[in-house]
């Protein structure tokens, strides 16, 4: 069973994405990358990301991660920002009641996207 299913599937993701997005906007280390007029579209992207790293049903491929973040790399996106995302991903899952083992496995999946996100 995936962490996605263990945490409660779609309903849990809807809660998780709001919590996660709020953490991003409130953290000045990464907030600029998440500021947008179209918050619903930003939320949809984050939902796709969370669904992917939790092992839920998704169509999010590494190539999409690469092209989606290419312009952010130009704006200075680097390893430290990916670290912040993984940090908030972990605390979001902790708030939702995930175990440390589940969090570690999700963080490992998120980490595996690092090279694509940073266009390496």
């Amino acid at each position: 069973m995936s962490v996605y299913e263990e945490l409660g599937g779609t309903a849990a993701i809807e809660t998780a994405v709001d919590v996660f997005y709020r953490k991003m906007l409130l953290d000045e280390r990464v907030a600029d990358f998440f500021e947008t007029v179209d918050m619903d579209r930003q939320r949809a992207k984050q939902k796709a990301f969370l669904t992917m790293v939790l092992g839920g049903p998704n169509n999010y491929a590494g190539k999409d991660m690469r092209s989606a973040h290419a312009n952010l790399v130009g704006r200075g996106l680097n390893d430290s920002h990916v670290d912040v995302v993984i940090e908030h991903l972990a605390s979001t899952l902790r708030e939702l009641g995930a175990s440390e083992a589940q969090i570690a496995s999700v963080a490992a999946v998120a980490n595996s996207a690092r090279a694509d996100v940073l266009s390496r």
Binding site: D18, Y21, M39, D40
Partner: protein, 321 residues
């Protein structure tokens, strides 16, 4: 390079150019207002080829299936043949039944559709004058009412509001396109707290949503916050005060940003008074309508204050360009 053919005539299309600009360059006028993909005034139909996906965002499924798209969002990358007549066939003819002044800068315009115009309270339509001038307005009426009601802000130099407020508009024939929008009351969660926030004529859709919710009946608390730049922009004060007296679960708050003279109206920034009154928006359903920059600011603030984005219905009014 992509070819663009409109009503059988081939037009020059530069790479990356918008269909609406290519049409203008060729001297083909189509209705247009916001140029931001919101108002749907510039709806066109593709008769051959596929409209770019981004030009169909926000359109009803039935319109997408018939290859309708928004000219202001379409940068064709493949050959496209389009028709300007397709959208007009969707329009409902109507007559301007009355125009009255609700406040110094707000008109109440009532329309009598000549064919059934189905909508839900809180949606918006595009009003087209006979010459093609188009503007989007929210519906303030309820579907059960015979006449449609719009609240029109009188904008200095505004073509449509000047015409509506002038002597000759009543009785005129117009066309209605739409409706669109999701700023509607959702039955089913009748205990939830509903927060309605309108800026200026952003009160229009909320006047519909509020009465729809009270009639449902919605059992949970309903708050309506109306803000305007000056006390002159506030309206329906007596009606809202009467509804507050009649419904224990409804509370009405009105604020002006500034006042030039003595006033009974409370002064304050809507985002500040709203957040001060409700430290947490978790679990609440929030409706935000009116001037786009303030709606976007409020959306961010209520989200950070705990509202789920799925429970925030934002209807940003985009000015005509």
């Amino acid at each position: 390079m992509a070819r663009l053919v409109c009503d059988g005539r081939e037009l020059s299309l530069q790479p990356g150019q918008l269909v609406i600009d290519a049409l203008a360059d060729a001297g083909i006028g189509v209705p247009s207002s916001c140029r931001a993909g919101a108002c749907q005034s510039c709806l066109l139909q593709a008769t051959r080829g596929r409209p770019p996906a981004e030009s169909q965002v926000g359109l009803k499924e039935s319109l997408r299936a018939q290859a309708f798209f928004l000219a202001c969002q379409a940068r064709p990358t493949e050959d496209l043949e389009i028709s300007t007549a397709g959208a007009a066939k969707l329009d409902v003819p109507a007559r301007i039944a009355s125009v009255e002044r609700l406040a110094a800068e707000v008109l109440r315009v009532r329309l009598e559709p000549q064919l059934p115009f189905a909508y839900r309270a809180g949606q918006f339509l595009t009003l087209l004058r006979e010459d093609g001038l188009a503007r989007a307005y929210s519906l303030a009426s309820l579907p059960s009412e015979r006449l449609l009601e719009l609240h029109v802000r009188v904008i200095p130099g505004g073509q449509m509001s000047a015409w509506l407020g002038g002597a000759s508009s009543v009785g005129s024939a117009v066309r209605l396109r739409g409706p669109s929008g999701e700023c509607c009351y959702l039955p089913g969660l009748s205990q939830q707290t509903i927060v309605l926030v309108g800026i200026g004529t952003g009160l229009a859709p909320l006047w519909g949503v509020l009465r729809d919710a009270l009639a449902a009946p919605h059992r949970g608390p309903i708050e309506l916050w109306h803000g305007a730049r000056t006390p002159d922009g506030l309206y329906l004060i007596d009606e809202l005060t009467a509804l507050q007296a009649a419904h224990r679960n409804f509370r009405y708050h009105a604020y002006a940003l500034e006042s030039r003279g003595p006033t009974d109206v409370a002064l304050g920034r809507l985002d500040e008074v709203l957040l001060a009154a409700s430290p947490s928006f978790a679990g609440r359903r929030v409706y935000l309508c009116g001037d786009a920059p303030l709606v976007q600011l409020l959306k961010r603030k209520v989200f950070l204050a705990g509202a789920s984005l799925q429970e925030v219905h934002a209807d940003p009014f985009v000015s005509a360009k």
